[in-house]
């Protein structure tokens, strides 16, 4: 089912998102109505982050052929993410979305989203090859690698590049080009 009328690209990203989401299976179309738009966008971004990021080879996540998203503290996002990634693959890896209860459950995660940057959760994530995404440029600056923020009505994201490097993750320059880079530059 086609998601309504799509006229020219004029910054009406909801319609675009709908378009993107229409790539999902028909059952997902029913779920669309229940999910908040901002969550949907975040979910889409999260999905796309993975596509522009490559993890180090030895990583168990890479090895076992699955890409595991862990969403902490945002069940809505979890749902949205599940919808967004259903039936999709990233680089031949199937996608799994989890909502861990405890920090120790983060071991198998490849992408971690922290709704709140609590130390408990952050503790085990430092210098691990996990893509850490949170809210706000501060998050990116102080804790994680990627932080969502909204400017001029659009969802943007900030990336702390050094941390990405320290985690031995590689991000496509195309992704970096879209992001607002924070923190010091690359480590020499």
């Amino acid at each position: 089912m086609k998601p309504g009328v799509t006229s020219g690209w004029r910054g009406r990203w909801p319609g675009v998102i709908l378009l993107l989401l229409s790539l999902t299976t028909p059952s997902a179309a029913l779920a669309q109505d229940e999910v908040d738009i901002s969550l949907r966008v975040r979910a889409a971004f999260l999905f796309n982050f993975a596509r522009f990021t490559s993890w180090p080879d030895a990583e168990p996540a890479t090895v076992d052929g699955r890409l595991i998203y862990c969403v902490v503290g945002n069940s809505g996002l979890t749902r949205a993410l599940r919808v967004a990634t259903e039936g999709k693959q990233v680089s031949g890896q199937t996608i799994e979305v989890r909502a861990p209860e405890r920090p120790t459950d983060l071991a198998a995660c490849d992408v971690v989203y922290l709704n709140e940057p609590s130390d408990a959760w952050l503790e085990g994530l430092r210098e691990t090859p996990k893509l850490l995404v949170g809210e706000g440029t501060d998050f990116a600056r102080e804790h994680g690698m990627v932080g969502f923020f909204v400017r001029e009505g659009r969802l943007r994201f900030a990336i702390h590049l050094r941390r990405v490097d320290e985690a031995r993750l590689q991000m496509s320059s195309r992704l970096l080009g879209l992001a607002t880079l924070v923190g010091e530059g690359r480590s020499p």
């Binding site: 690209w9 990203w13 378009l19 790539l23 990233v90 496509s172 195309r174 080009g177 879209l178």
Partner: protein, 536 residues
């Protein structure tokens, strides 16, 4: 039209033909190359422009993956703006989505060049960019198609390039043709020079007839071979000519000699003719002399007898006179005197008559020498008159004369002569062929002959003895001298027939059967030639 053109081209000098050939070939070749090159260039330019654009589209599409994924319109726009530097790009469109759900994500439109709208380019089979160079590239990330990039470029650059190239090609072509034209002038001489030299030599030989000239050699190709053959031919002609001249000279010599011989022969012939004429003259003179001698001799006899008779008369008359004066005249003496006078005067008269006849006959012969009248006449008519004039003579005899001649027959000759001939023949026949009381028939038969007449004079008289026959035409030959034959009759006939009439006379006779004279006479031409008739 084409025929005139073909004729004109055929008449062109070899030099121009060659130049034309070289130039035409060059022009065609250069034109072909130029056209082929231009076409190739066009294709290449287009395809390289297309592949160029494709490459660019690939790069931009790859760069757009993130912008499309994250729906970052501004970023996408910025990416497309990079195309501003590529002057010929008319429009570029980034579409997000797959298949039928595509939507325009970013648009670049050239400020100064019109192009198709992105919305029009959305469908895959869009013809909106038909006159442009189009590159379509999928925006894909890890095998997933996120959208499509379409770049539209105009081919102004291609055309500009082509124009420049074509101009260059044209200039080069022109230069090539000029070069070819210039070169062809030189190259054609390789062929035309020997040929023209040959033609010129041939002309000179034809004009001057000088076979010692030779054509110059220029090389060892086919033309060289031709020239060699030509020169060889000339050698042969020269030799033949020399031979001919020699033969000619020989011939001339021969002709001269022949001419000399001919001249000599002619001289000899003339001399012979002269001699012949002289002989004839001499013969004539001789015969005339003979005639005169004959006549003199003949006349002498009767005159001698007459003189004797006259002198006897005179002496007896004187005796009588003496006797008369002495009165011794007796009657018997007178009677004897009268007898003697009677006898003597008879003898005198007879002999004088004889002499007169002889003179008359001689005069006849002499008259032959004067020219008589020549005209066309009908023999039948004329002979008839002749016979009439002879009538009195014939009446005394029992001889009949019959004439058989075509009344229409004509001949151009001397009628007077013919008359004489016939008269003499008749007289001769009357005298020799018949005795005074004999009966007989003379047949005169005239028929047409080749160029004249044949006259047959036949009598059924005594005939002529074989020993006499050969002499009958001799002058003063007669077998009847005592009967008054002068011996001149047939001689005159012979002379007249052979000389005046220009014919011939034959005689055939058998003793006891008769005699036949055959006379052939020719019709005289308008300007009859005396000399011919003499030799005839």
């Amino acid at each position: 039209m084409t025929r005139r053109l073909t004729k004109w081209m055929a008449d062109l000098s070899i030099r121009h033909k060659l130049r034309l050939a070289i130039l035409t070939t060059t022009v065609f070749a250069v034109a072909l190359v130029a056209v082929a090159t231009a076409t190739l260039q066009w294709h290449n330019a287009r395809s390289s422009a297309v592949s160029d654009l494709d490459a660019l589209a690939a790069v931009i599409a790859a760069n757009s993956t993130a912008a499309i994924s994250f729906n970052d319109r501004i970023a996408a726009q910025e990416i497309l703006q990079a195309l501003r530097t590529r002057g010929n790009v008319v429009a570029a469109c980034l579409f997000a989505g797959q298949g039928g759900n595509r939507e325009v994500a970013a648009v670049y439109q050239s400020a100064d060049m019109p192009g198709p709208e992105c919305a029009d380019l959305l469908p895959a089979q869009s013809q909106a960019a038909k006159h442009f160079i189009l590159a379509r590239q999928d925006v894909a990330l890890h095998g997933d198609t996120l959208g499509e990039l379409v770049i539209v470029e105009n081919d102004a650059e291609i055309w500009a390039l082509l124009k420049a190239n074509t101009l260059a090609l044209l200039l080069i072509s022109l230069a090539s043709m000029l070069l070819a034209a210039w070169l062809s002038g030189g190259i054609q001489r390789l062929i035309s020079r020997p040929i023209m030299a040959l033609a010129e030599t041939a002309d000179r030989i034809a004009g001057s007839g000088d076979f010692s000239l030779r054509a110059p050699r220029f090389g060892n190709d086919e033309v060289g071979g031709l020239i060699r053959a030509f020169n060889f031919m000339l050698d042969q002609i020269e030799v033949a000519e020399a031979n001919l001249r020699d033969l000619n000279a020989d011939l001339k010599l021969q002709v001269e000699e022949r001419n000399k011989t001919n001249a000599t022969l002619q001289e000899t012939l003339d001399q012979l003719r002269e001699t012949q004429e002289q002989l004839v003259q001499t013969e004539k003179m001789a015969s005339l002399g003979g005639l005169v001698a004959g006549v003199a001799h003949e006349i002498n006899t009767p005159i001698g007898v007459g003189v004797t008779a006259a002198s006897t008369l005179k002496s007896r008359s004187e005796e009588l006179r003496l006797a008369f004066e002495q009165d011794e005249l007796t009657a018997s003496g007178l009677s004897r005197y009268f007898d003697m006078v009677g006898q003597s005067t008879s003898i005198l008269l007879a002999n004088l008559e004889r002499a007169a006849n002889l003179v008359q006959s001689f005069k006849q012969v002499a008259v032959d020498q004067t020219s008589s009248e020549i005209r066309e006449f009908r023999p039948a008519e004329y002979i008839h008159e002749i016979l009439l004039s002879l009538g009195p003579k014939l009446k005394k005899t029992a001889i009949e004369v019959r004439l058989d001649c075509d009344p229409e027959l004509r001949i151009r000759s001397y009628p007077g002569v013919l008359s004489q001939v016939l008269t003499n023949l008749v007289v001769n026949a009357l005298l020799h062929a018949y005795e005074p009381a004999d009966k007989g028939t003379i047949d005169i038969h005239v028929s047409r002959n080749e160029g004249g007449l044949q006259l047959l004079f036949r009598d059924d008289g005594k005939g002529i003895a074989p020993e006499v026959l050969p002499r009958i035409f001799d002058p003063f030959y007669t077998t009847r001298r005592n009967a008054g034959g002068s011996g001149l009759g047939l001689h005159i006939v012979y002379n007249l027939v052979t000389q005046q009439l220009g014919g011939r006379i034959r005689v055939h006779s058998e003793l006891g059967k008769g005699t036949e004279f055959t006379i052939d006479m020719k019709s005289k031409e308008a300007n009859h030639e005396q000399s011919l008739s003499r030799t005839g």
